[in-house]
Symmetry: C2
């Protein structure tokens, strides 16, 4: 079984409410966290709501980091969605917990996009790698 994406969901309760309403700081923290995860940033979009609250997304080459804040509740929902084997989303999660001063954080991980392993190929034969959902992919076995 192979997983295409890892999705960390952070429930950040008991945060510093001033921080959660400071769009410049929120963007700095999210961008720094994405770098700590070793992600490649391809774009950012942050928005300040009235009377308070911020939504922000950092689009990364390996998916996205998103935040929504409710300063009036000291709460932020933070998602770190990554693909590939080289990233460190947990390091980013720890950084976000620290930086937003979350006294009551919770972390959940979801595996997104489960792809069964292809069936073992017969050596010396040209076989079709069997992917789920009837989408075969040619596989040339060379040894």
């Amino acid at each position: 079984m192979h997983t295409l994406g890892r999705h960390l969901l952070l429930e950040l309760n008991g945060c510093n409410p001033k921080l959660l309403n400071d769009i410049k700081r929120v963007e700095e923290i999210l961008v720094a966290g994405a770098r700590i995860a070793k992600a490649t940033i391809v774009g950012t979009h942050f928005h300040q709501f009235s009377p308070f609250g911020i939504s922000g997304v950092v689009v990364i080459a390996e998916s996205h980091v998103a935040i929504h804040t409710w300063p009036e509740h000291g709460y932020a929902a933070l998602d770190i969605f990554t693909c590939g084997e080289t990233l460190s989303p947990e390091a980013a999660a720890q950084y976000f917990v620290d930086k937003f001063q979350a006294r009551h954080p919770a972390l959940f991980e979801l595996k997104r996009g489960i792809i069964p392993d292809p069936k073992p190929a017969k050596v010396g034969l040209v076989v079709k790698e069997v992917f789920p959902y009837d989408r075969p992919q040619e596989l040339q076995v060379v040894s």
Copy 2:
């Protein structure tokens, strides 16, 4: 118990792979879906990866809609994160399943940001509304 955000997670398997690699169509579908959910769009960011795959985010006044596609697996991960009582994220979810021609969709809902109801106020008194995490908020009871 009160929930600040609703987070619908769609696992779209068995999609039309051509659609999943057509950045213009993917953006059109996401924007149309956000409108079907009655969301207010404040920004979009879409990115085409090489050799294939698209990441896209529609930032809405009520949070975000995000997609990551793996055309080679006929798979897309789609998130619809909303807050407020007036939106219809399920209608958007149904629209996305139809438009991406997902033959094997799965839908999960998460409640993000659980806020206990404030304690009942005593009529005629100025009381403190008790929010979790030691963040009291003044509440003037007027009747």
